[in-house]
């Protein structure tokens, strides 16, 4: 296989892996935003807390998988408690109050985590069997752990698809997303539905945090940078739409990783290495925002708008 072929293949897989993890975050965010009309900046904090819980439980139980399960369960409970105790009171307020309220939660979550776990990053290692590479094609090795992330991400996406399109609770969620008032009038217990959706979104956050923990670092503030990307994803995909979140996340993941590999190469070719070193990474990092601007220009409601 040629060098360029390997590069494109590996970058596509990396983009898929990154996109699927963004999807886990964006799915919860878009449901909360679409159904409850609630801007939740604390979503990234659930991702951070989830990663910390997974790391702590993994060390305590000496098993990555047990840690992951315990962390997801703990974060889901925490998410539901948060909804019942605080966020429920913000639904009727305007978006500015919601932004301020959830931003306060974000700050408190960061400082709380700093108090409990300290300010140094916590180490989380992948399960020993998945630490090495696997040979996908003759001469092409790919990290086993990234393959696992891709597999889990695809499985969760399929599960969500079935849940939303084929089950009764999914029907209620869709009804809530397309017309909240009508759904309430038709007898859907919106309060319980909101709490359940919020807990489910929190569980997805913890899953993403736990899976990305061994690749990235479990540290204070890890939620903010990825939260911005998750918002970009739901704006591109269309607010409230799971399908939009899925394709938006894959698009952002692939464009971001492809841009980081290909733009510096292209600049290197046209302008020489000095200019490429400066301009290449800068352009690569704004690429997804250019994408978002383009989508907003031509399709202001996103690629898959949920509200008719």
């Amino acid at each position: 296989m040629t060098g360029a072929g390997v590069l494109v293949l590996e970058q596509s897989l990396n983009g898929l892996q990154f996109g699927l993890m963004l999807f886990l975050l964006a799915a919860g965010l878009t449901l909360v935003f679409g159904i409850m009309d609630m801007i939740n900046l604390a979503h990234g904090s659930l991702y951070m807390v989830g990663a910390y819980l997974v790391a702590t439980a993994a060390v305590a139980s000496d098993s990555f998988w047990l840690g992951l399960a315990a962390g997801i369960a703990g974060t889901a409970v925490l998410g539901m408690l948060l909804e019942v105790a605080v966020l429920r009171r913000l639904y009727q307020r305007d978006h500015l109050s919601q932004v301020l309220g959830t931003f306060a939660i974000l700050l408190m979550a960061n400082e709380g985590v700093r108090m409990l776990w300290g300010s140094q990053p916590v180490a989380l290692n992948p399960p020993a069997g998945l630490a090495g590479p696997v040979e996908l094609l003759p001469g092409f090795l790919y990290p086993a752990y990234r393959l696992l992330i891709i597999g889990v991400g695809l499985a969760v996406a399929a599960l969500l698809y079935v849940l939303v399109t084929r089950t009764r609770i999914g029907m209620r969620v869709r009804a809530g997303a397309s017309n909240r008032e009508m759904a309430r009038a038709m007898g859907v217990d919106v309060r319980r539905l909101f709490t359940a959706v919020f807990g489910f979104g929190a569980a997805l956050c913890a899953l993403a945090g736990g899976l990305l923990g061994p690749l990235l670092a479990v540290q204070v503030g890890m939620g903010e940078s990825i939260l911005i990307l998750a918002f970009v994803v739901i704006v591109i995909g269309g607010i409230g739409s799971i399908r939009g979140a899925f394709f938006g996340a894959l698009l952002v993941g692939v464009v971001d990783t492809a841009g980081r590999a290909l733009i510096p190469l292209a600049f290197d070719h046209w302008l020489g290495p000095e200019a490429a070193a400066g301009a290449g990474p800068a352009l690569a990092s704004i690429l997804i925002y250019l994408l978002m601007a383009a989508v907003l220009f031509w399709k202001p409601r996103g690629l898959f708008p949920a509200h008719g």
Partner: protein, 402 residues
């Protein structure tokens, strides 16, 4: 996310401080101080925290060994966190200098933070003894009588690896560094001694933790060696991902000591075996000062020291020697400067002296990550790459006379 509120009472406070400063300057004769105060401003949170913690622990170990004294005077070490942010560092340094009135400043890990703190520190005639950051600016044209590097000049460790890679006969090298001043200095230093082909040169954002894209580029470019300058958590992530991708079988990984020290080894473990790296110090260097340092550090903190800890320790010992030399007369700035320049202390790294730009002339070693006799994964010193090595910028420094 951190915000620091501006103090509403700033103008009157500044005026008071200025008045105090004027009074202090008016003191006629230098008298022996009754204590020595050190401001240890370092990165104690975020991905770079491990580095700052080791500098702090190394420094405090030296103070503890001296019975809580530096140069015969009771020592007070004021520890503060710069959060790896130049803005926070500058404000905190202001507080240490003006309110706490420290005699020496030390501890900064990152060069961009150092450059923000340097100017106000030198202006207040406070001596800065660097336990890590050694930016090229302060070694060359902006060299300053109040700045002393007890560590190295940023390029040095990279120069040592560049020479090693060239000596070992590697022909195609891929380079990777963060996109900030020290990252560019690093690769410039490497290329000063390695003249072969550069298969790939990548700069990544300083907060990037996923190196999937860079690893894919390396796989496509097929270099025979890879050189990374990724301090702290960045290096931990890269090495894990590099080994996970299977590239470590085809390419030899090189780094400066920062990318392969005990902090990184603790986090990565066995996959690091065989990584070559350069350092001005190693825990197995055979000299009396080092043996005592390594043994006491392990006893005190239960882990092996890193080069950051060694630099923090040496910074304290350098201050200790200087304070003793001037017999505690810390107000006599010219005398303190001369005493620091003389550097009368036994460094844990062996021979140590200052060049005219207040940067060290010292040896640089090649280390490799191996398993020692007790089965621990750790560094072993292979040999000396440079003897009495000076930095490349000293010619541009016109150090003002005392």
């Amino acid at each position: 996310m951190q915000t620091v509120a501006a103090s509403p009472s700033r103008p009157p406070m500044l005026a008071t401080l200025a008045a105090f400063a004027a009074l202090a300057c008016a003191a006629p004769l230098a008298q022996a101080a009754d204590a020595v105060k050190v401001g240890l401003l370092s990165t104690l949170s975020g991905p770079g925290a491990g580095l700052g913690v080791d500098i702090r622990d190394g420094f405090q170990l030296a103070v503890k060994q001296g019975g809580g004294k530096l140069g015969g005077l009771p020592a007070e070490v004021v520890v503060a966190d710069d959060q790896q942010s130049p803005d926070v560092a500058r404000q905190t340094a202001d507080r240490l200098i003006k309110r706490d009135k420290v005699d020496f400043m030390t501890g900064i890990v990152f060069s961009n933070v150092m450059l923000a703190v340097g100017a106000p520190t030198f202006q207040s005639k406070t001596f800065y003894v660097s336990a890590n950051a050694g930016p090229s600016q302060y070694a060359g044209e902006q060299c300053n009588p109040y700045f002393f590097s007890a560590s190295y000049q940023n390029d040095n460790l990279h120069e040592a690896v560049g020479k090693t890679v060239a000596d070992k006969g590697f022909k195609r090298v891929a380079l990777l560094a963060p996109n900030y001043p020290a990252g560019k200095d690093a690769l410039a230093g490497f290329k000063r001694f390695y003249k072969g082909e550069i298969a790939l040169e990548s700069y990544t954002p300083l907060n990037q933790l996923d190196y999937g894209a860079e690893i894919a580029k390396m796989r496509a470019a097929k270099p025979d060696a890879v050189y990374i300058f990724l301090p702290g958590g960045l290096g931990i992530n890269f090495i894990k991902q590099f080994v996970g991708s299977g590239l470590s079988k085809d390419m030899t990984l090189f780094g400066p000591g920062f990318s392969a020290d005990e902090d990184v080894i603790r986090a990565v473990g066995a996959p690091m075996l065989g990584m070559f790296n350069s350092s001005l110090w190693a825990h197995d260097l055979d000299n009396a000062a080092n043996k005592r340092f390594v043994a006491d550090f392990q006893k005190e903190y239960g882990r092996l020291p890193t080069l950051y800890a060694a630099q923090g320790y040496d910074a304290a010992r350098l201050i200790d020697g200087a304070v003793r030399d001037v017999k505690g007369r810390l107000d006599d700035k010219a005398a303190v400067r001369k005493a620091l320049e003389a550097a009368r202390f036994e460094s844990v790294r062996g021979p140590f002296r200052f060049n005219t730009n207040h940067f060290p002339i010292q040896d640089y070693y090649l280390r490799v990550v191996t398993q020692d006799a007790q089965g621990r994964v750790t560094n072993r010193t292979l040999g000396t790459v440079f003897r009495n090595h000076a930095d490349a910028y000293v010619g541009a420094c016109k150090m003002p006379a005392a």
